[in-house]
Amino acid sequence: MSTDRTMRGKVVVAGIAETTYYKRGQSPDAEFKLALQAIMGACENAGISPKKIDGFSSYSNDRSDPSRLAAALGIDDLRFASMQWGGGGGGASGALANAASAIATGMAECVVVFRALAQGQFGRFGQGRQSKFIGGEAAQTMPYGLMSPAQMFAMKVNRFMDDHGVKQEALRAISLAAYEHAQNNPRAVMHGRPLDEEKYDNSRWIVEPFHLYDCCQENDGAAAMILVSAERAKEFDHPPCYVLSALSGSHYRAGAPVHNTPDYATSTFKTVAPRLYEMAQVKPSDVDVLQSYENFTGGVLMSVVEHGICAPEECNDFFTLENLTLAKGKMPLNTSGGNLAECYMHGLGLNVEGVRQIWGESPNQVENVNVSMVTSGPMVTPVSSCIFGSEATL
């Protein structure tokens, strides 16, 4: 990769914010108001006027239209409005990448990455469509009762677990770590609701190999992050948090219809992760803390493997509660509680937590964090990842 074509170190995070997080359908506020609350909060966190924002970046067909946001905020000069295609939560780090590239190339000065959801006001993610007729690719799966994300992705995870002899306990450890971290995070919807092995083992199956606690929540709320040029890093009270790399993609025919991608049992990160590390100029062993998107625990497991942190055959030894939590952990994982136990803000909460780890503000702060990685939306296409770095990494 040509070094003059990189976003490495060119963009910093100026501010972050999350609204109160609610269980699905319980937000007293409309979705668009939640988006505004998060954006206003991120401006306050950065110490800038909302009128200074000149770009918006989101993903997964977020309904809060940038032009309406710009009008509501009284922005003079809208310069960038970007939507990452497809992939559900796979777009979180991709939206960040699009925002960062707009700043790095001079298209915009101050871009907010955001995601807002009110699933009471609009539809639920986890429900099957209930139309009378169905056509296209869905006609090949829905009449067989295969219609939810959990059902789409369990098929991949079963194949991966069978190929590599991965045991249920490895998935359980991912869930236990998230819940343990959430107990120290007052923002977390599952704060005060701890999980142990027995409760996990006795929880109902959703679709094998996913118990209830292997599946993300469905929530209402919003999150936002403001990015600016690294030239302005010293203007803000926070220690600089640089974007070392952020990008998206997927492998050969990842989107082949009806489960026909040749490389099937994958989180879709095999081609993305090497490019991510190359741009960031770090190795997997340099990563101090990881936020890895949990739609389902099996996706986390494959994401960790495909980001080179653990070999497929080592999963049963690597994925233990001890290894994934702070004290003696090899790789502290989802330190806010993540999508399982903090909030499913379609994964953008993980990026916000990744920044907090660089700033030293996490509820489960890892010591001396220089490299903080976030992986977004495993098993969809395209997926995306990002790596934040402290000043010491430049």
Binding site: Q130, P143, M147, M155, R159, P257, H259
Partner: protein, 146 residues
């Protein structure tokens, strides 16, 4: 009790108005598995697309292939997310690979005990499940252990 693997009430599959998958659905109604095969390079392709991903020919034909395969992956579903399946209990969905057609895959249910053990690589045979009482009628392709 229903004659079908799953309880009635799920969405009725229909061929796309654009014609891309019409021959597939017509084939199932005639007890045939008919999927795409490139007229130029003879490669099999599924799901249906307008273009051959190998040789980029637009001359995609449809051809019958034996309804036999092997289980590539599987899942046992417990939580009903559609009201029609509220009283269904567990059911099995399999992803079946067709070695005789460049290993393309199709989705179906595995007939028999919904709590039977599941094995990747097991050989399966297709069973055409005709929903003649539906309006419009349609056919699904189910699978049973060979």
């Amino acid at each position: 009790m229903s004659d079908y693997y799953l309880n009635p009430g799920l969405a009725i599959p229909r061929a796309q108005p654009d014609g891309l998958d019409a021959e597939y659905w017509q084939g199932l109604s005639e007890n045939k598995l008919i999927i795409q095969r490139c007229s130029s390079c003879k490669g099999w392709q599924w799901g249906p697309e307008w273009l051959c991903h190998r040789c980029h020919s637009f001359e995609m034909g449809y051809e019958e292939v034996a309804a036999t395969g092997v289980i590539y992956s599987h899942e046992r579903i417990w939580h009903p997310i559609h009201p029609a399946l509220k009283d269904q209990g567990p059911y099995i969905v399999v992803l079946v690979e067709l070695p005789q057609a460049d290993n393309v895959r199709v989705v179906g249910n595995l007939l028999g005990d919904p709590e039977q053990p599941l094995k990747i690589g097991a050989e399966v045979t297709g069973v055409f499940e005709h929903h003649a009482d539906s309006d419009p009628a349609y056919t699904l392709l189910q699978w049973q252990l060979a």
